[in-house]
Symmetry: C4
Subunit: 378 residues, 4 copies
């Protein structure tokens, strides 16, 4: 039974744990780093790193997608981002990165430019042509409208992602005909679909039943997120991942063996966070802010996610990561090192390999069995 | 059973939860924002927003009351505030808002001016004449003396409110004759009465039995409150609201259906706080500090509540909200947006509508069933 | 059973609560402030306030003792402080208060001056002659040597106090003959003795059995205390007071009615802290730092306690309270008000009277029954 | 049973406690400091203080080792540190201590110089010749290669220490022949071996079974540690020590009386931390950062441990302790006082003696029975 408290008479609530409330406890034989594998395979695709780069215009551009693939990860282009709104986003990216600062109001204006399905199709085709595996993210609201172009252009994985998603959405009555039925939509496709985010067992299980190959846990909380203050929604990621892993086990059982991948998204900025997310039950992590400071990221030292430009209720700030251009590490230093930065924010997957070794596990799937401890905050 | 701990041998205490210790967990189908209603109805009065503007002179003046009504909320004029003490409060409001600063001592002096029942009656009548629904707040100590003028002038709702109130107050022996008997007082009126604040189940139930239409939970803790340090009283609002909701259920049962509204007052400054207060069981929220920074609020960028000017034991500071005049949002931006501020402190009810949709509820009453989680602090 | 956790396999520890982890919950009828009494009676002595001024040279001098008596409290002169070491402490007090700062090393040097029993006797007699009730504090180590002069000069209450005290001290073998046997010592006296500090049930009970009229709970933790870092000892005062109150009940029972007073000493700086200490079970509070900022206190805007000048292991810092001379309140403002300071640090006992009224209690003894809640920190 | 929580459905985790979450509770008769002994005996070696100076080049040089021995402790030279890499480390130590700052990158470069077994042997012999008891630390990876020279030169204790160690390490297949078999290695030696660090019961018990004389608990977390963020590993020391003490009891039982010493290493910077580590079950403490600020320490006002110079994943920062040369205390002031610094960071073992007296214990072994309380953080 989950841990519940009674916050008031007759009103119960579970206690949820953030990743920074848990830590790993090495408790068996150790292992050499060189006998550890961090590989991740989803559907027919294998990656050296259990990494999905988040569909933020600050992180994934056609250029950075190729570099992330080279380093072993999967990059997801935001199908409703700047590359689908502007023929050449260079100028608006420069405005956002302007050292004099860019406001949320300016961001709202920049993203007021409509999405062009034709442009989105073209981007997809260009990536395909460049030999990079292509993953594109669409919001549930626009999937019906935008997916045909993307599919036609050739996409390897489709990511259907909102802050919070459900298997059955109740739209307004007039819009009902356009509403996305995930189950039939996915059944009709012959490419793997990743859906999310989810925050609890029930929704995770329902989304697994739509036929998704992967489910994203969390909405990508980062240091500039205000979803907890604007909406009152907060996702204690250790708990959310563990709950979704329980849903994965239940679904494995009810299907006699269909394994749905969990991708943890939120509150992951260090190698230690990556390790803890995997030990809680994730198969891979989706990283946004953690990659945005790299010189190879298109954000120019800033990070923002799709909620930052919402026209009425923006739910995260545009963050300045505080790095001078000459201090920005390469994507390679951030992902696989080596590094001379002891903060834990670089060589994320070199760190992962090392902690897997210290805990005595040789694959990510085995590493999910490592021991956790709940600690007071440092 | 509520969660109790033994703080010392033979001494038990419950664990109470602040709103910032809980968060919402979307856990069912989602819903479009357009099919969500935030309406609130108490007695014969319907409001678009479940909002009561607090009886602070920094928030409610005859002018701002009209604007708050227009935007869908209910404003409560402090019947013992500046508008009942000064023929024209403009000058004293300017002194309080003086950029050079205003001290608690000056505030005490300003509020040393006696309340004029005649003036109070006149304010009430003016609002009535302007077509604004009129709610006036009186302290329990002065209700007997001041209510006749207010009632005569025509008031729509009467709010009887102290920091802490009880159904049965023991006054000094000499003053006993003037003591307010809430039960007979309310029974004699033909307008709805809202009373408070309460902090626990028992007092909430007793106040419901006085015939009140609504009960205020909490004493309006805000960023300048010092009640917890001056008096040792602190109200963990998530717990207090949930307890009062249990009292509401008990009273519903014992009366065979009389529904008393709960108005949460304290520690509510963001859209997320509004949502969490409602999910804990409130029917509406009373907002003070959250509205005081608006250009339409009379406080001129400062906030103070009635305890700030107490002549002997002031229990909150006069706060400067830190906004330059040109940066103050309109009351409309604060209440219903849109906004370009991602802090969660603006478009409070647009945020509410959105989170209700993400949690899959279409009315405030249903939204009280949403799932809560207790989280470590961010 | 107290709440225990297992910090490691086979190693249990209780959870203790600091005063700032608990709060009061008004939960019954309210009461007018004017029908509340804060009086305290110990042995034949009655005080308007349940206040003992701590034996710190920063707080109690012959002059401030008279003022504290006038305001309703009991002041304790440190029998091993400056007034017993220097014919005229004016100059050394000025050095400590020097705006250029005074170091712990200088404090150690100032207190290296030996205590003069003759001088101590003289101070006692002078206070006696001035009509002020005289209480003198001696350390357990020096009680045998110094008490004769104090008793001869005429003392009303004797306070035997160390950081931690026990009913049975094991001295070095050579010193054994001089060791204080509290039980026989107290039995031989005809004035009330207050002893402390204690931190737990067992020691409190043992000290009660020595015949003490009062027991001090805690060692006076204040904002400059480093006992928790230097010694690893920390006293969660809510728990310590409640435990000592349980010892008081046990001792009442075993003696068929002898009531020993509990004086809470530590972490009490606001009116709310005073109230919470009493509700946890104390009969009075001992205040040091809370009074030191007053213009009438001899410390000149600084606070230090006897542990600050320890020659080898100083266990608290000499604190500058940060008040310009013109901003220092009078002792009267600090104790009984009125005040224009909303911090809760002034009008401590006016605040107490008010919260007793709001909680519906008319005497301190009854107030010990008020309801407590454990809250997350603000 | 240890305290466990369910962080997610089907996923349990223990609650672990840091040293700063616990405190000592004096609860019996007190005792004079002069009748207290802090002595520690391991194998044939007796020390006045239960102190092991950590094998950090910032703390232990041949010179400081002699001074630490004189003051009553045991110093451990890092067998893979600067003294084994440079004929004369003076110049590189000066570069690290350069007031203009030294980077992690520079540290990585300095430590890229290979270890010379011959030089290491020479250092060992020199210390031996100077009459200082010699303890040398080797990493598990290099013990096979480096121990012959050290043993030949004459070492009193051998310390085999990595961040995390296990009794059975799985190296890469090719390296298998060189892998250290701790059990046979220790059995072949006729000097005591100390191994670590461990973080839990099981590993502690396994290491005890290798025949080690002492086991180090923890990896030396200090204010610059980033192991928790880089690797996700964090060791709540109160819990880890208590668990290892349970392993010691189990091993005592299974061997019919073989007592393995526990040396606590991490989060210990004050006298209070020393006391708490011992009460949790340690026999001695290993101190690094706590000693590095002393004028007698070779680090020149900085602290770094072996993980700070890791070539790919540095896991702690090079810390500037912020002390001007003239403000640095002597090692004697830090260890045995007296001091005029009230922070608790000096006279660490004078503080220990004092708290043992206040808690009424006369030896470290007895002191392990003292009472602990879990408190909210200050």
């Amino acid at each position: 039974m989950p841990e519940t408290v009674e916050i008031g008479l007759g009103r119960e609530a579970r206690r949820g744990y953030h990743l920074d409330e848990v830590a790993l406890v090495p408790s068996r034989r150790t292992r050499g780093s060189s006998v550890v594998s961090t590989a991740w395979q989803i559907d027919a695709h294998t990656f050296e790193l259990p990494l999905v780069a988040a569909p933020s215009d600050a992180v994934v551009s056609p250029g950075s997608a190729a570099e992330i693939e080279r380093l072993g990860g999967l990059a997801v282009l935001n199908g409703e981002g700047l590359w689908a709104r502007y023929e050449d986003p260079t100028e608006v990216l420069a405005r956002i990165a302007d050292p004099a600062g860019c406001t949320t109001a300016a961001l709202q204006q920049i993203y007021a430019q409509p999405v062009s399905p034709e442009l989105l199709g073209r981007r997809t085709a260009e990536l395909q042509a460049a030999g990079v595996r292509v993953a594109v993210r669409l919001s549930p609201q626009k999937t019906v409208a935008l997916s045909p172009e993307v599919l036609k252009a050739g996409v390897d994985l489709l990511v259907i992602q909102g802050t919070v998603i459900s298997a059955e959405h109740v739209a307004s009555e007039h819009a009902a005909d356009d509403a996305l039925n995930l189950k039939t939509f996915i059944a009709d496709l012959d490419i793997p679909v990743i859906v999310g985010g989810v925050t609890n067992y029930q929704t995770a299980l329902h989304l697994m039943r739509t036929g998704a190959a992967g489910v994203i846990v969390g909405y990508g909380a980062h240091s500039g997120s205000t979803t907890h203050s604007a909406l009152g929604i907060d996702v204690p990621m250790a708990t959310a991942i563990a709950d979704a892993a329980a849903a994965r086990r239940a679904y494995l059982d009810e299907t006699g063996g269909r394994y749905v991948h969990l991708i943890a998204y939120g509150d992951i900025t260090t190698g230690g966070d990556v390790a803890k997310a995997l030990v809680c039950g994730a198969d891979a992590v989706m990283l946004g802010e953690a990659l945005a400071g790299a010189s190879g990221a298109p954000g120019g030292g800033r990070y923002w996610d799709p909620t930052a430009s919402h026209p009425r209720v923006p739910r995260s700030a545009l963050i300045d990561l505080g790095l001078e251009p000459e201090d920005r590490p390469s994507l390679e230093e951030v992902l696989t090192g080596p590094t001379a930065d002891p903060s834990g924010e670089r060589n994320l997957f070199g760190s992962l390999r090392r902690v897997m070794a210290k805990c005595g596990y040789s694959s990510v799937k085995e590493f999910q069995k490592a021991e956790l401890i709940v600690t007071g905050l440092r």
